[in-house]
Structure formats: C-alpha cells, structure tokens
Subunit: 372 residues, 2 copies
Amino acid sequence: MIPVYKPYLTKENLRFAHEALDSTWISSKGQYIKQVEHLLSSIHSVGDVNINIALTTNNGTAACHLMARLLHKTKKKIKTIIVPNNVYVAAINAFLFDKNFKLKPVECDQKTWNYNLSKLYELLNNSNVETTALLVVHNLGNIVNVPKILRDWKGLTILEDNCEGIFGSYESYPSGSLSFASALSFFGNKSITAGEGGAIIAQNHHEGYLYKLRSQGQSDTRFVHDELGYNYRMTNVQAAILYGQLKDKNEILRKKTNILNSYKKQLNIDEVSFQEAEPNTTHSKWMVGIRIDGSSYDDAEEFFKSNYIEVRPMFYPINKHSHLKNLKCHGGYSVAEKLNKECVVLPSYPELQDHEIAHIANCVKQYITKIR
Amino acid sequence: MIPVYKPYLTKENLRFAHEALDSTWISSKGQYIKQVEHLLSSIHSVGDVNINIALTTNNGTAACHLMARLLHKTKKKIKTIIVPNNVYVAAINAFLFDKNFKLKPVECDQKTWNYNLSKLYELLNNSNVETTALLVVHNLGNIVNVPKILRDWKGLTILEDNCEGIFGSYESYPSGSLSFASALSFFGNKSITAGEGGAIIAQNHHEGYLYKLRSQGQSDTRFVHDELGYNYRMTNVQAAILYGQLKDKNEILRKKTNILNSYKKQLNIDEVSFQEAEPNTTHSKWMVGIRIDGSSYDDAEEFFKSNYIEVRPMFYPINKHSHLKNLKCHGGYSVAEKLNKECVVLPSYPELQDHEIAHIANCVKQYITKIR
C-alpha cells in the first residue's frame, strides 16, 4: 500500500532527537526548544516583518487555542469569528473551547477550495471590523492572500491557521507572517514534523501572556499562577525531531514541489482539476488534492485501495460535525459538499517515487474511465 | 547544586525510545502507546477492581480535563466540585476550562497536608451528593483514603488527581483505582516520566467518549467529528520513554522509599515534621516535604541555595492565584498559609546519594539552629 503520508525521517535528521534523549533533557526544558523557536522566527521574518514571537506548543490545536485566547485578551470587542465552511475541525474548535465567540461560516470556492472571496466580502460588508475577526485556513496548502484582504478591509483582525500552509507565501511574504497571529502544526503528517507539535507566531504582542498560558498560567513566582493556563509545552525531544526537520526543509520542499509538478503534468486532462492559486500566492505543497468531476469519494477510495493506494477525502462541510450542525453558513454548503464528494487527496510524502506517482496517475485515469 | 528532581533515565530504559525514533513511528500511533496503556491498566487492577480504561494523554492537565468532561457528560446534575485549598493549580483549572462547574475549596490539615477531613465532612454534610463531586489530590504523594470517604458518603462521586500519588495505596488498593476516574502525570519531575505525558484511569465508563475527546472528537468516519474534542494524544516516542520507566518501576520505588526513610531517620528531631499518613494508606514517595516550625520559606530557600541545594515550596493557598482569589474556602486558608510558609520540599530523585542526603539533612539542622 502506498500511504497517503509519511514523515521524512532519516538517520541524519533524527540524530538530534537521539542526542536529546541521551542528554536526559526530555521534558519541557532544553536547548532544542529555544533553537527551533529561533528558526521559526527567522523563517517568518522577511523584509520589514519582524516576528518576535514563535512559541512552540504541543500541537497545532493548542496553538490555535492560544490565538483564540490572545484575541479575547487583547481585542475584547471581538465576539464573532468568520470561519471557512470546509476545514479541519480543530481550527474551528479552538474558538469554541472558552465559549467566548460566535462563529459565522462562509461557503468555499470550487476553484481554490478556500473561501469564496465574493461571499466572504459580502459578509464582511455587513460586519463591523471592530467586533468581528476572520479566521483564514490554507486548505491543503493553497494560500489565501492575507495582505490583499488586509488592504481591502482596513482594521480587520485576521487569525491564520497556517497548519497546512507552512512554506507557502502571499505577496512574497511567508504565509502566517502578516496576520494578528498564526498557528503551525508539526503533526506526523505535516511537511515538517515533531511527531506532535505546533507553534504560535505573532508580531510584538504579549509574548509574556502567551508564554504564561502555555505553562499553566504561572506568574514570575514559581507555583503562583495569575491566569487560567494550560500545559501546552513541546518537549525537548519533540523540538529535537523538529530541529532535524528544519535542517532538511529545503530538501523536503524541493521533493514535495517535484511531486506536485509531476502529478500536474501526468494528470493534465480535462476531467481532473487541481486547486487554483490566488494571484501572488505560492502553494505550500503540503498535500496534492484533485477534483474529478462527477466522482463520488467513497467509491473512489475503494477503487484506489484496490490498487494499493491510500487516499483521503477533502474535509467535510463543517455542518457535518454534530456540534457545529446548527451553524448557518453565508452562501450555503453546496460547494463544500461538492468538493467533499468529488475531491481525492493523493499520496504526497517527500519520499514518494516517480514510478509510484506514475502508478497513481494511471489509476486516476482508470478510475475516470470506469465512472464515465 | 543538588537538584530538587531529575528523572531516572538510563541507557537501558531509554533504549525503547531510541527504537521508537528509528522505527519512524514518532507520532500518535505505535506499539508503545498500547503497551503502556495495558501496563497502566494492570497496575491499577488489583483484587476485584478491573480498570479497563487507561488512556494515555499528552500531560496530566489534559487527563484532569478529560475527567471534568467525563463527569459533565455522565453526571449532568453535578454542578459543584469540592476542591483542596493547597494543591498544584492544574488540578483545579481543569474543572474551569469549560465553565461547567462551581468550585468550593476546603482548608487543609497541618499533619497530612491534604484535606482537613473534619472540615471536609462538615461541608459534605451540608452538600447534596447528587449535585456535588469531590476532587481528591494526594499532595506530594501522601494518600487520601478514598475508600473510607466512599463508605462514609454513599453515592458521592470522587475524582482523583493521582498525579503525585502513583505507586501509593489506600486499603491495599492502588491509589487512583477506586474513584469515578483518576488522572496521572508523567511530567519530567514525576516518579515515572514520559518527558510530558499523562493518563486517565477509569472503570467501565465511556471509553469511546474519552477516546474521542482525546483525538479531536472524531467519529467512526475519518474527518467527521461529533464532539468538541482536543488533541490530547501522547506520541509513541513519549510512550516508549514511559515503557522503559515502567520496566524500572520497582527499582525506582525502592530507591525513593530508601530516600524517604533515610530523611526520616536523619531528621528525627522535634523541630521537623513529615507528612503524617492516614490509617491504611501508603505514601507514593513522590517528594519528601518537611515542615520546620517557625521557618519562612524564602529565607529557607536562600539558605539551602547557598549550600548548593535546590528546594521547592509547598503549593500556595489557591486564593493566591489571581483567577481563584475570590473563592471562599470552607475553614479558611490559615493552615494552607502556614504550610506554604513553613514547608520545604527536599531533593527526592531516585539517584540521590546517601552522602547527599546526609549533607541536606545536616543543612536542615544548621538552618534550624540559625533561625532559633
């Protein structure tokens, strides 16, 4: 079976994790935590942007939750979050944990698989930017042009779930770098991994507050806590795994770029659509998704499985999750439903071989013939 | 400097973690997660007790939060949690995250450093066991006799923060095994560690629900989520560290028992008190705390530091934490304040050497002479 994903782990890039184990710095302190936080700051600091907060967390959900808490703390008027209607549920959940916000979903776009921008702009037109924030998610790595939205909607606060977007860009800036705050994930299936892990990225605000929330709300006095906090800390071993990944990031991105290009070349046929990029954005190459007009996911999955290929679906419309089913969506759910039905996410891991891509592309064509 | 704690990590007990890294199963799946969950079930299943839920989590706070969610889900009438007034804040916070419960703190006891049982019983006498649950915390490893409380208060629901209590016992049962649910921590300073980690232990209820909450609330269909969930998963690498620790648990407990006994022997003087055990309980030996009548913690810490000994304070009265400062405590806070002022937690790690214990005990005596 060709898996849909596996992390790029080599003897060389794992050696830092082995070293961390042997050092016995296996818990929430250690040199690798600081080193990866420094590297993550650097990656996001391009041109005039100076990211001085890159706090690691134990996963991407925790990072999203820290964004929600930071928003509530620093922009008290904001009570409503506009959210996409077709993303991984954790991005949405993070804004529900504390019961501080109301969610307003917006329909997605059949070409980008992200927000339908005209529907989004309609809703923003009827919203007060002082009481409403926008959650941006870069589905599968297709980047939403955040700086354009910020120009079009002066004063709007954007939170960016960049968990699928790392190494993508908008208008020459790294995705995640221009929002109020952004979140990263280093789960096992992400372009770079810590096993489980995440980070919150932000400019200039409240590092002390975030640091505190991450570590049980502890004040400057040990065991005295002055905020309701969490244990959201990454371990030094996880950070050491991530450090090895960051060393290999150019190689990983090169391999993943080749994979996307190779799929595009071999599946340059009318029946297959890839995500379309917005102008002035670059895809992060996280996962390669295709839409096959008229196909049905369960049937497609079965077909690929019988050919020893693991695939995954595009995310479900968020009203399919019981706890979100009553959310009224601006623009409805029909495009999200169509994408969920017709899209297939193909194996996209760095070590995927040319002959495997050829086999997968061939199976896509066979499947199309089968359903015609 | 003699540290207050360091984990017992050896080449031998770390080899499983190295193996997990090399296997590339570094994320939320892998054989070690299941193996440690099986071992944790076994440890807690003694006599007629059959623990069939031992779910690992990414830390003890997450495990406590799962207890709170489980309680809210299955005992909807319970709205009030009675809590100790002198424990690590995370145990308390976990019941505040979802804003489902009201807290009622109770004063502690100068001898056990846990609940003042007569104050607790006074409060329970004025409480309805159908709408009130009790949070038990075994401070530093001194075990509260849960089965006795359960006999005395028929129908009472007890949640047990057993993060400091692992390897302790009440009436021949392992601490954590007789409550509605209990939580463990495997933080770097715990008797056995995963770097960061935890577990929720329970009999017979709702494994599926807890499993779901731990992993983003996902239903049986991948990417469809039917509960507001979290990413509370332990990684296979963390589980592999813990697996090595569990292999060495008898040795660790033996070493820690010797340390406690050695301190008790060398500090068998009027001015020093150790925690007194309740009848029919056995201390977990997590940390050795002493109370020095008339001492003042900051001053003591300074003295020990100048002698190259790291110590830590007993937990602060919970009203010292800003977000808990308005909680009215049954019995007041004066004993908690006294314990926080007069107690010193001494180095207690398994590899602490006899000559180091002798040095520490000698310094305690010098400190007593100094303040007389």
